[in-house]
Each structure stands twice: as structure tokens, then as C-alpha cells.
């Protein structure tokens, strides 16, 4: 069933937000990602799971060309977003990253005020014309990130003074503020306590209606809770990809089954 759906989707690219074909990533001599093919659907959450060092974060970073900042990293193959190849020489990675936002493992607010943290993206991309518009974008982003009520009275205070969970939601607000279409999240909850994690997961679920979200996670429960589709990576290979429910209840590959039942990883 899954196989036939995938074949059908391959014909009609418009249904997919991101299409990756034969992607290879090398770190110097090391072949980190081997021949990955995946289609990511719009307005849904796709989770990448797999043991440490399996390449899921590396692959995530190819989707907004963050790997460009690493000298020895080389990407081959074809990745297109909305049918446009993002590794085309004419594509400006700066504009690509405005369209494909990213949230990192460790909350990394800038050493600026809460307001300035959120206003940073719109400022550098010139998205607003007046201060009032900028204020509007900042408050809307903070509201979408579920942080507004907690910080509305102290927007001038430093972003680094917030708690870990608040900082991570600030980083999500910062990413939303540039109105991206895709948000990549690299283990966004690994540095958070369970309550903060629950809030961020709830937020991810809400954001799904407007954004295409790809999340890397070590927690299989988290993948099961927040994602609609799941991809399992192992040793640089994409082993299996499908609806989250199918992956967790009826994995096709032995390795997937071993991993989700806790036999390794």
C-alpha cells in the first residue's frame, strides 16, 4: 500500500514540499549519508529517528544548506523544495534559510533582549516597513510560539535570562518571525525538562497547520506523539519511511523493528 502511494506521489511533485533524490553527504573521506530518497509532505510533521551518529541531523542540515558552513562537507544528489533544486548554483543560501527556518538542539537565544531576538530575522531580511509592523510581527510570533503571555511585560529583558523551555520557545518564535515555509528542528527538546518538552510538543502540533515541520528526535515516544510520518535512519542509510503509525506498529525492516523495540540504539 505504502509503496504504491509513494510511486504515485513521485509522479506528482506538487504534492510534496521537499523531495530528496539520491542524496550523498561526505565529511572529507567519510561517507555520512548514503543514497537517501525521501519525500516530505506539506503541513505535516515528519520525524527522523535513529541511533546516534546515524546521519539524521546531517541530513536535516542539508535541507537548508547549513552544512555549507562546514568546510569539509560535500553534498551530492538532488534536493528540491517546491520543485526548485536548492543546490542549484543560482540559489542564494541566505534566502533559502529565510524560507527554511531552523531550531537547534540547545536553545541559542542571541545575547539581546527578547524583542530584539524575535525582531532580528525580520530586520535583516527587511520584512517590515514601520516600527508598528515590526511590533506586530514580534507579538504575533511570540503568540504563535505560546510565549507571549509569559514575556509580554518584559520584552526589553535579555533573552538569555529565560528558563530553558522558554528560551527554546523564543528560538521557535525567532524562526517563525521570518515567515518560513519549512521549520527544521534538531532535537529541540533534548535539553528540556518534561514539562517544557510537553509545551514545545504541543506547540509543534499547533504549528503543523501552517508549516512543514521536520524534527530530529532521540525519543521514539516523542516521534510517535508529534509526527504524522517517520523516517528511520541507520548508519547513513534511510532504512524505512512511512506513516508514523505504520512504522511503530508494523515495521517492514528488521532493523527498524529492533530499534523501536529497544534491542539497540
Amino acid at each position: 500500500m505504502n509503496v504504491s502511494v509513494n510511486l504515485e506521489n513521485d509522479v506528482d511533485l506538487a504534492q510534496h514540499k521537499i523531495v530528496a533524490k539520491n542524496v550523498q553527504v561526505y565529511y572529507g573521506e567519510k561517507h555520512a549519508i548514503k543514497d537517501v530518497n525521501i519525500n516530505i509532505q506539506p503541513c505535516s510533521v515528519t520525524a527522523f529517528i535513529g541511533p546516534s551518529g546515524c546521519g539524521k541531523s546531517t541530513f536535516l542540515r542539508t535541507l537548508n544548506r547549513m552544512n555549507d558552513t562546514i568546510d569539509i562537507c560535500r553534498v551530492e544528489g538532488n534536493i528540491s523544495i517546491d520543485g526548485e533544486n536548492i543546490y542549484d548554483p543560482r540559489v542564494d543560501p541566505v534566502q533559502l534559510r529565510a524560507k527554511v527556518g531552523m531550531v537547534f538542539q540547545k536553545p541559542n537565544p542571541f545575547p539581546k533582549s527578547i524583542y530584539e531576538n524575535v525582531a532580528y530575522g525580520p530586520r535583516i531580511h527587511g520584512l517590515t516597513r514601520t516600527k508598528a509592523e515590526l511590533d506586530e510581527v514580534v507579538s504575533a510570533s511570540l503568540q504563535k510560539a505560546g510565549l507571549w503571555n509569559e514575556v509580554k511585560d518584559r520584552l526589553d529583558e535579555g533573552g538569555t535570562g529565560l528558563s530553558g523551555g522558554q528560551q527554546q520557545r523564543l528560538c521557535i518564535a525567532r524562526a517563525i518571525a521570518v515567515s518560513p515555509e519549512v521549520i527544521l528542528m534538531d532535537e529541540p527538546c533534548s535539553a528540556l525538562d518534561p514539562i517544557a518538552t510537553a509545551k514545545v510538543e504541543e506547540l509543534i502540533d499547533e504549528l503543523r497547520s501552517n508549516y512543514t515541520i521536520v524534527i530530529v528526535t532521540h525519543s521514539m515516544q516523542q516521534a510517535a506523539r508529534v509526527s504524522q510520518r517517520t523516517a528511520f535512519f541507520h548508519l547513513g542509510n534511510l532504512v524505512e519511511e512511512g506513516a508514523t503509525q505504520d512504522i511503530f506498529t508494523n515495521p517492514q525492516d528488521k532493523r527498524t523493528q529492533d530499534y523501536i523495540t529497544g534491542r539497540f540504539g
Partner: protein
């Protein structure tokens, strides 16, 4: 027995002790080292330390204290003469020590026997000639009292030498046997040697700290002497620096402070932008091979002695500025100027600023850069708006440290800025700084106990207070910044 031979004996004893200690520990358990509390080597170490360290400490103390004691005892024989003045006494005691040394040399090379020396009388024997044979030149004939004192001095120091040899070797042997008898199967040799190490490390750091206090104390003491002779108001608020040999000098620090700050300001104006931009390039843009070549090259600048920079100022930069700027613009005819010293000092400070800033920029977490790139910032936007604000406190600290170096710099200023104490704004004119004047006041021919000389200590203390303040502020800022990311 010479000092070197004594030390050699102590070390040999200690090594023998170490071997014996190891043997004894192994012997106690029949060669099975698993039965010992510590490794056999630890037992040897303990014996070594207990043998060598107390003996060496005793030697050091003896060498330091004995001359003081001997001085006092031999000068007692001079009491009653007309030497009431402290200074005269010091001079006479110098003679006493030199004659004693001469006698020692003569007796060592066999030209005088012990009985000759005891019969020698200053009024009959030609002491001056005999001393000249021994390589000791005396300015005038010595009085009988001084000569007798010298004989006493020589006797005492010979006795002290012998006593020291006996005492040191005795202590070493006592330490050796005492520590050997303490060795047993359960003796915690590892802990003892660890504790001993800690004590030695503490002693070493105490030396550094106490030296600092000693320096400050001597500065404060001489400064106090200066202010007893010269008015503090003239020193701190006087606008004229004009020392006179005959007294009645005007010793205002303000022209010197002005020169110091002017030159330092020019140096920082030059060094901070260049150093900072170089640091940004090194930390953010340079490729690995580029960085591995350029960074050591830049830091090579820091290894050049400041006197070489001074020559560069004197021979190249000074005349260049005079011929192409000062004279055509009609601003001066001097090749030494504030600008010359400032620029050359700036060159000296570039590696200082750049390598400190480079470290600080590198300490900004990569996650901040990733965050900015992830939002679609360009490289320069990331640096200007995220990396630099995060690194700013640390960079301010680096600049302050550079400033305190600039304020304390001497050679470049001597050779580049001249020696004229002036309050002026023209950067192409010669001026001078506090450090230069400290050198010139202390190296002159004036008597030491005059305000013209002692002012050097007051200047030094002022400078010390300024740079200490700057360093404290700088370290405070740097530390505060470090905490932010830990």
C-alpha cells in the same frame, strides 16, 4: 668545602636514601609489592624529600641570615670610633667585608699563613699593597680599627662556614635515618609524598606573591621619603616638570601623565582597529591553512624586543613623519614625536589585541552563529550583530589590558617620543612619559636621598596604581564575560 660540594653531598645522600628507602620497603614485605600500602617508589621519594628538603632549606636560611649576624658582631669592634652616622657605617662595613675577602684570598693562595694574619697590624704592615695583590683595591689606607674588624669578620665567617657544613650534613643524615625508620608495611608513603609536594607548591607560589608585596612596599616606602622632602601639591598638581641639581626643583607629574596618556591613546587608536579586524579575519574568515600561517606570523610581532621597535621608531618612522608631515605642514622639526612613539607602540600592541580578541571571538559559542545562519543571516551580519555584541565585554577587557601595557612601555617612548616634558596638543611635537622620567631620574648623577631621585618612586607608584586599576577593571570584565557562557 665550597657551597657546590655541600649541595652535591646533600643530593647524593638523598639519592642514596631513596634507594635505601625503596629497598627497605620491599625488604619488609619480602619483595611482594602488593603487600605495601604505596608503590615502592613512593617510599624512596619520601626518604629523598625528608633528606634533601630540610637540609636545603637550612642552607638557604643560613646563607641569608649569617651575613646579617656577622655584620652586627664584627661592627661591635668599631663601636667607640667616631662612626655615628648610618651612612658612614655602611661604607666602613663595605671596606671591612672587602678586606676580609682579600685576606681570605691571600690565605688561600698561600702567600699569608694564619699566624701572619694574626700578627698583621694595619699601622705596620702595608695593608693596601697586600690587598692589591689579592685583587682588592682600597681607596685609602685603612685604620687599625677597621682592619681588626675585618679580621674578626673573617674569623666569624669562616666559623660560620664550618658550622653550616656540619649542621646541613647533620640535618640531611638525620632526615635520612628518621624517614627510613618510619617506613613500615602500612606507612602511607604516597600520601606523605603528595602532602610534601603540595607544601612545596604552596611555598613556590608564596614566593611570587610575597615578591609582589615586597615591590609595592619598597615603592611605598621610598615614596613616603619623597613626600617628606617635597610637597605633594606640587607633585600632583604642578604643571611644570623641571628638576634641578641644586634643589628647588619643580616636579609636577601632570605633563608626564599627559604625555603618557597621549602616546598611549595614539597607540590604541592605531592598534585596536587593526588588531580587532585582524582578529575577526583570523577567527571567522581565514581558512585553516591561512590561519596556521598568518596567526603565528602576527604573534611573531609580540616576540620582538621593544628596544628593536624603539630603533624602528628612531631611524625609520621618526624621520619619515618629520620629512613628510611635520615640516611640510609647519608643525615641528623634531623627529621624535608623540605620533612616532604612538604608531610604533601601536604596531607592538597589534598582536596583543588581536590574539586576545581572537580567543574571545572563538569562545563565542558556535550555536549562536548557527542560530543566526539558520535565520538567513550573511556572514558579516552574523559577525556584526551576533558575534561582536556577544564578544564585546571580552574585547573591552583585551583593550584595557593593551592600554595598561601601553602606559607601562618605556623603550619605544625613550627612542620615539623624546624627553621633553611638555603639556601640548600637537602630536608632531616631542613629549615624554612617566616611565622615561623614572629612568632618567634614577640614572643621573644626583645623590640618592634627594627629591630629584626619589621622585622616581613616586612616579613609579602612581603608574603602578593606574595600571593596577586598569588591570582590575579589565580582569573583572573578562571574567564576567566568561561566566556568561559557562
Amino acid at each position: 668545602m665550597s657551597l657546590g660540594a655541600l649541595l652535591l653531598i646533600v643530593i647524593v645522600l638523598a639519592i642514596l636514601g631513596a634507594v635505601a628507602g625503596r629497598r627497605r620497603a620491599l625488604g619488609l614485605v619480602g619483595g611482594d609489592k602488593r603487600a605495601l600500602h604505596s608503590l615502592p617508589g613512593h617510599y624512596g621519594q619520601v626518604v629523598f624529600l625528608f633528606t634533601a628538603v630540610p637540609a636545603l632549606v637550612l642552607t638557604g636560611l643560613w646563607l641569608f641570615l649569617a651575613p646579617l649576624l656577622i655584620d652586627r658582631m664584627s661592627s661591635e669592634s668599631l663601636v667607640g670610633s667616631s662612626l655615628t652616622d648610618d651612612t658612614a657605617m655602611t661604607l666602613v662595613m663595605t671596606d671591612v667585608r672587602r678586606i676580609a675577602r682579600g685576606l681570605e684570598v691571600l690565605s688561600a693562595n698561600g702567600s699569608l699563613s694564619e699566624s701572619d694574619i694574626s700578627q698583621m697590624r694595619a699601622d705596620f704592615s702595608n695593608v693596601r699593597v697586600r690587598m692589591a695583590e689579592a685583587g682588592v683595591a682600597l681607596g685609602a689606607d685603612v685604620g687599625p680599627q677597621v682592619f681588626e674588624a675585618a679580621k674578626v669578620y673573617r674569623d666569624y665567617s669562616n666559623t660560620s662556614r664550618v658550622l653550616m657544613n656540619i649542621a646541613v650534613i647533620a640535618v640531611a643524615i638525620a632526615g635520612l635515618f628518621w624517614s627510613l625508620t618510619r617506613i613500615s608495611k602500612d606507612y602511607r608513603a604516597r600520601n606523605a609524598s603528595e602532602k610534601f609536594t603540595v607544601v612545596m607548591l604552596i611555598a613556590a607560589s608564596l614566593v611570587a606573591v610575597l615578591t609582589t608585596f615586597g615591590i609595592v612596599f619598597s615603592l611605598v616606602f621610598e615614596t613616603y621619603n619623597f613626600f617628606r622632602m617635597h610637597s605633594a601639591a606640587d607633585f600632583f598638581f604642578g604643571l611644570v616638570w623641571n628638576p634641578q641639581f641644586r634643589g628647588g626643583s619643580e616636579l609636577g607629574i601632570l605633563p608626564l601623565l599627559w604625555g603618557t596618556f597621549y602616546v598611549s591613546f595614539v597607540a590604541l587608536l592605531f592598534a585596536v582597529p587593526i588588531g580587532l579586524l585582524a582578529a575577526i579575519y583570523m577567527a571567522e574568515y581565514a581558512s585553516k591553512p591561512m590561519r596556521s600561517v598568518a596567526k603565528p606570523l602576527l604573534e611573531l610581532l609580540a616576540g620582538i624586543p621593544t628596544i628593536v621597535y624603539g630603533l624602528f621608531a628612531l631611524i625609520t618612522v621618526g624621520p619619515f613623519l618629520r620629512d613628510y608631515f611635520a615640516q611640510p605642514l609647519g608643525l615641528g622639526n623634531s623627529s621624535s614625536s608623540v605620533l612616532t612613539a604612538g604608531i610604533v607602540m601601536g604596531i607592538m600592541l597589534i598582536p596583543f589585541v588581536s590574539s586576545l580578541s581572537d580567543d574571545i571571538i572563538n569562545a563565542v559559542p558556535q550555536s549562536l552563529r548557527d542560530g543566526a545562519y539558520g535565520l538567513g543571516s550573511t556572514r558579516s551580519e552574523t559577525i556584526r550583530q551576533v558575534v561582536m555584541p556577544a564578544a564585546l565585554p571580552g574585547i573591552v577587557g583585551a583593550v584595557l589590558l593593551a592600554a595598561s601595557r601601553a602606559i607601562g612601555e618605556t623603550m619605544i617612548v625613550v627612542m620615539g617620543a623624546g624627553a621633553a616634558a611638555k603639556l601640548g596638543l600637537n602630536p608632531l611635537e616631542a613629549m615624554t612619559t612617566v616611565t622615561v622620567k623614572i629612568v632618567s631620574q634614577l640614572t643621573g648623577d644626583t645623590e640618592f636621598a634627594s627629591p630629584e631621585t626619589l621622585v622616581a618612586f613616586a612616579l613609579g607608584l602612581t603608574l603602578f596604581v593606574f595600571t593596577l586599576g586598569l588591570n582590575i577593571v579589565a580582569l573583572y570584565i573578562v571574567r564576567k564575560y566568561r561566566e556568561q557562557y559557562e
